[in-house]
């Protein structure tokens, strides 16, 4: 019997091209899939150590299947295990997923209200730098709230 279930069309050619360009520029970025969900996996994000337990971290973030249509990027996952100041970071607190045989925990780091990821100007590259800001505690508009 034919499967009549409707599935969202995957439109990530632009994301693939961006990741290929980043990889060509020397950034350890690759596109990986877990089921139907594509992710950008980026290795070697620099972090200050201490308080982080190492200087390089791997991060992961989902590529929306309609990325090419303008669906924005947001948040990221941190590879497990990790250690921050002898324990856990209170913003590394979301769901855990298994991708590429590794476990990843969602980090609560977003774009500010009124200044979301803008598909017209922002890219996977700029999102990676935005994510790096989390490790540095940089550019957090609500850092003191």
């Amino acid at each position: 019997m034919a499967n009549t279930a409707r599935r969202a069309a995957v439109s990530i050619a632009k994301a693939k091209a961006e990741i290929e360009n980043l990889a060509a520029s020397g950034l350890a970025a690759e596109l990986v899939n877990e089921g139907v969900q594509p992710y950008a996996l980026v290795r070697g994000i620099e972090a200050p150590s201490p308080p982080w337990d190492r200087k390089l971290y791997d991060i992961l973030f989902p590529i929306p299947v309609a990325y090419d249509m303008g669906t924005p990027l947001d948040a990221f996952y941190l590879g497990l295990p990790y250690n921050f100041s002898g324990g856990e970071h209170n913003r590394v607190s979301g769901q855990v997923v298994t991708v590429s045989n590794c476990q990843w925990k969602l980090v609560s780091w977003h774009y500010p209200d009124g200044k979301p990821f803008d598909p017209a100007t922002d890219t996977i590259e700029s999102h990676i730098i935005h994510c790096r800001g989390f490790f540095l505690e940089r550019g957090a508009l609500n850092a003191r709230t």
């Binding site: 969900q37 913003r91 209200d113 200044k115 730098i129």
Partner: protein, 211 residues
């Protein structure tokens, strides 16, 4: 049997005025160059290179296949001069220029030309200058800075990033953004990070991230 052919004789002797360590004026007499093709049935040519704007005009010589691209000549010239092309030898922002009589420097050469094609152009020269441009990096984007001093606002615009949306950081692990309108002196290879601001979400779990 190898062949020899005089390609070019630069008979003019030039004096370049400089000041020695003692402060006394000294004169350097540039050697007269006789360029000779040797062997290989003229499949190679001898090239000399110097750094653009090098007051001492120190030259390095090497042989290159005429089928090589000027991109390869630039790469080999940079190696001989012991300088590094930016961002990489495959797609450099740096330039190669012809050097003609009386040290007249030509326009940047098309690096896609073969050496043979270049040597067919008048005036003919086997002497080139490697120009190291003021290449800076913003995130993974390389750009040539048009000025030695630029404001962070102008640097962001150079990289195609809106200063209203992005902050510029230097050094890259700096936590405080550079003041957008305070000019900074740039150096070749300088690396900046441009970051959009962020905000922390909920503490203690419960967040989900869906495609």
């Amino acid at each position: 049997m190898s062949k020899e052919e005089v390609v070019e004789i630069i008979e003019k002797v030039e004096e370049i005025d400089l000041f020695g360590e003692s402060g006394n004026e000294v004169a350097i007499i540039e050697e007269t160059v006789v360029e000779i093709e040797i062997g290989h049935d003229n499949k190679e040519a001898e090239i000399s290179v110097e750094l653009f704007n090098d007051a001492e005009h120190q030259r390095k010589h090497f042989r290159v296949a005429k089928t090589a691209l000027l991109l390869d000549v630039l790469d080999e010239g940079a190696r001989k001069l012991d300088v590094k092309l930016l961002p990489n030898p495959q797609q450099p922002l740096d330039l190669l220029r012809g050097v003609y009589r009386d040290h007249e420097i030509g326009v940047p050469l098309n690096l896609d030309l073969t050496l043979a094609e270049f040597l067919m152009q008048e005036p003919v020269t086997h002497h080139c200058a490697v120009e190291l441009v003021l290449a800076i990096q913003i995130n993974t984007r390389w750009r040539v800075a048009p000025q030695q001093e630029m404001t962070p606002r102008a640097i962001l615009e150079l990289a195609g990033l809106s200063p209203a949306e992005y902050s510029l950081y230097y050094p890259c692990d700096s936590v405080e953004p550079l003041p957008p309108d305070t000019p900074i002196k740039l150096h070749r290879g300088q690396r900046f990070e441009a970051q959009r601001d962020g905000k922390y979400g909920a503490e203690g779990g419960g967040e989900h991230c869906e495609s």
